[in-house]
Amino acid sequence: MDNAMTLPRYIFRSALIVLLAMAALAQADMATDSVVQGAQIESADSAIEASAEMSVEEVFAELIAARSTSAKTDTIQKIANSDFPQAQTVLQALQEGELYYTKAKPPVLVFAVNHPDGYSISSALNGEDLGVVGLRDVRKVSINNALRNLLRGLLAEMALRSESVDVRLQAAKNLIRSPAEEYLPAIEKAIANETSDKVLVSLRLAEGMININSDEQTKRLAAIEAFSDTLDSDVMSLLAGMQIQDADGNYQESDEVVRLAAAEVLRDMKAQAQLYKIVENTFFGLSLGSVLLLTAVGLAITFGVMGVINMAHGEMMMLGAYTTYVIQLIMPNYIDYSIIVAIPAAFLVSGLVGIIIERGIIRHLYGRPLETLLATFGVSLILQQAVRSIFSPLNKSVTAPSWLSGSWEINGALSLTYNRLYIIVFSLVVLALLLFVLKKTFVGLQMRAVTQNRAMANSMGIRTGWVDALTFGLGSGIAGIAGVALSQLTNVGPNLGQSYIIDSFMVVVFGGVGNLFGTFFAAMSLGVANKFLEPFAGAVLAKIFVLVFIILFIQWRPRGLFALKGRFVED
């Protein structure tokens, strides 16, 4: 408010509206206060009634017995309004699908956590540990989307009293998405006590989402005013909903004043969202680019530096992804760290397989690209079928660690997903490490020497055969690391490699064979181009356009963006 004086008319005007609205509210509050309090007393009453009438055991038995959505809704409300100390834990478990009941008679409500032999269960009544039971010995208390939304709201209302700012913020955000009249007193109380600005903003939005359905125009206008600083998609959806016309030209929102106020806020929101869309698209493009970079950078070594057309490159990625799966099988209780372990493990597994392939097959075929192509294609088929025989042809599920899930919400219109953010960083780190190995280490020096002039390197005393194996192993190992990243994005199955092999070759050829910087620029520019084309052309056409562009580009510059001299180029 202090700043309002120094700032121009716009703020002044809104301040005036807020003041007016507050005045109006104050009056309205007086009138409704007693009603709200009445409701509170009433709900408290019914809670006492419920607990007086029914013990915890009885309510839980009712929850187990409830079949229809409405019966379950009633029981959930009963638990929420009760003063059972375990109410919040039980509802939380129900929301997260961890609430089960045993087949005993009468059935017992239990919390169940996954265990290698089934579930490890504990009583919902007192938390007592009840040991481990088989998968089919307990049944889940199932819920549907309607109940999930109800629980989201109820739990959020409870969580508003939490000590932690993050919990309160999440609760406030959940209330925006599940608004209901009965949460209003709790929200208003929370607003009065809240100290964190961030939470306060979300709480006001939540309040607005409820007040917008109020009977009083002033409250509704105040709610719309509260919306003017947000880009939240639920708010946007609500405001857009008001502007919808039916067949006779009547607006969904009958109150003209409210509708126009909403339309104005909506217009501002849309203009801002448009801007963020461009930022978002760039991010999407860079993240696609970094996936391309990761998958292509290993190939840039085996194909680019060594000149081996390695059709089994995709399968090296697949091996890396399966390594991640196996690591998760070995350490089921440390999923969050499994990825960190999987990275070196995948590098070793794929690298070793790469060295075996090089020593066993490719070594005999240097200088015969066509035969190398066919032989490595054969190897790729063998590896695929081997994985099918060992792990079954079904896809395997690799769990995402919690720190790789969700997104970083900058505002309602722009949120960047964590897994993509990490992959961008990860791909840059891998590229940097690779450059370091090639440019600054002795092994790297030997690799470059062999690439540039094999005969000379040989006569200088470098064991070229050994260097070849190592280079191929390095390229394959990096493909394995890419596989770990891919396991977080897509299926882990025998066909994983095939879907990326074409893209990888495309990037390497476009970037210029043998040049890691070329690969970097090619991957990023293809990623961004693809993502800016996609909204107009659709995913299928965008891909075709990019492919056609590369074909034309290669006609013009056959050696790609950054041509480099090397064994392959000299042929």
């Binding site: 939304n149 959806s237 857009a240 995402a400 995913a539």
Partner: protein, 438 residues
């Protein structure tokens, strides 16, 4: 050294496998005279192996079970398994091999529509018998094929009806997302026509196609989010093909779209696919099928027990195409017993009208258009990879070969019983069958 050794043992094992294969081949020829041959035409390698291997095992299990009961017509059943390797033209060749060389009496097989289309000319020319167990886009009825999976009116349309209802959330705005091939394109064409007939405006329908195995869903999910924030309840109808689903659902979850906000109803995601997913991001999303492993019926419990025992792995699941295979197999056995012969034409005449119990507690009847009556179930995905059945049709829905919602198909009709029609595409206006065979 080690690599050389492994190559050697590999070669040795390969040799043994080859020898075993030749042996079993010659053994099968020797047995041929007093058995009834059942061809199994499912990909055991290549991209479709993921789905089709299970169906091969299902047929083998059913054959084994039937043989324990004494076979059919007093003869033992003998399965002949071939591997078309997810290679569409190879499907046609293998069909020819099964019919001409192996002289099988019936074939259970195919998954993708393109493989079925590849088999069609061969099976019609050589007058074979194919049971096709997968939900598909309809618009077909061949004399030699029995479609035991769902037609669009037995999966897509009831699912949309459910979402439009109050229970389903009174959805007003629709995203039709699919992989770019014949099944999603045809299904979406039918759905679009259906939605428009229900008064949905074209501005409330968004159609989107992606390539096979699409893995970068960022833009599309962001578009869906934007499309869904226009003030009307929005749902996604997904005909996205198996492999592309994991990244799709992951992206939905990561961008914060929950099933409560924008539910996704999928036609290609079943128990088997879910076993390869990290199901946490999928909980609450929907799928429409004619069978779920969680269906409460005694027949289903018995089937699951038998399957787990046969396959020897307690973690395996059952799914809709398996039920369709089961129904098809039972119907064929019943028809052969009714006809008293395995002769294709006689079995064909006998099978129309035959009823067998399905696994969800109802009855499946073979209709004159070679499709089945099926119940339609909507299930919500649970975090254990199973479905919680939230809705189902009152009774069985008869399968419709030609959809009523596309003008050029509405006038077509398939009837292989009525002697006046006897074709798969009778035009009710011109009173003629069109030139095509099906």
């Amino acid at each position: 050294m080690e690599s050389r050794k492994s190559i050697k043992t590999f070669a040795k094992r390969g040799g043994i496998a080859l020898a075993a294969a030749t042996l079993s081949l010659s053994a099968s020829i020797a047995q041929a005279a007093d058995t009834i041959k059942v061809g199994v035409l499912h990909s055991l390698s290549g991209t479709m192996a993921i789905s089709e291997t299970t169906l091969k095992d299902t047929v083998l299990m059913l054959v084994e079970e039937q043989n324990k009961k004494g076979g059919v017509l007093g003869k033992k059943l003998e399965p002949v398994v071939v591997d078309p390797a997810s290679n569409w033209p190879l499907f046609a060749e293998k069909t020819k091999e099964l019919l001409e060389k192996e002289k099988v009496d019936v074939i259970f097989g195919c998954w993708t529509s393109v493989s079925r289309k590849s088999v069609l000319p061969v099976i019609e020319e050589l007058n074979g018998l194919l049971f096709y167990p997968v939900q598909y886009e309809g618009e077909e009825s061949s004399k030699n094929v029995f479609y035991t999976g769902a037609a669009p009116n037995q999966q897509a349309i009831p699912a949309v009806d459910y979402l439009m209802s109050k229970d389903g959330g009174s959805v007003k705005r629709w995203v039709l997302a699919g992989t770019d091939y014949v099944y999603p394109r045809t299904t979406n064409k039918i759905l679009e026509a259906y939605l428009k007939s229900k008064g949905v405006k074209s501005s409330d329908i968004m159609i989107n196609y992606t390539p096979f195995g699409h893995s970068d869903w960022q833009t599309i999910v962001s578009d869906i989010k934007k499309f869904g924030s226009q003030g009307k309840k929005t749902a996604v109808v997904s005909t996205i093909n198996g492999d592309a689903n994991v990244p799709f659902y992951k992206e939905l979850a990561n961008q914060g779209i929950s099933a409560g906000d924008i539910p996704v109803v999928a036609f290609s995601v079943g128990e088997e696919e879910l076993s390869g997913f990290d199901t946490a991001p999928l909980v609450g999303h929907l799928a429409a099928w004619n069978y779920f492993m969680s269906a409460p019926s005694d027949a289903n419990d018995a089937f699951i027990d038998k399957w787990l025992e046969f396959i020897g792995d307690k973690k395996r699941v059952t799914n809709d195409p398996m039920e369709a295979t089961y129904i098809g197999f039972k119907m064929w056995v019943k028809a052969v017993e009714k006809a008293g012969t395995t002769d294709v034409d006689k079995v064909h005449d006998a099978i129309i009208g035959i009823s067998v119990p399905n696994l969800t507690g109802g009855i499946a009847t073979m209709l004159p258009n070679h499709h089945l009556t099926k119940p339609v179930l909507i299930g919500e995905i649970q975090d254990n990879g199973q479905f919680d059945i939230v809705w189902q049709t009152d009774g069985a829905v008869p399968g419709d070969a030609w959809t009523d919602f596309l003008p050029e198909s509405a006038k077509l009709e398939a009837d292989w019983k009525d002697p006046k029609i006897m074709c798969g595409n009778y035009n009710t206006e011109t009173k003629k069958c069109s030139g095509q065979n099906y």
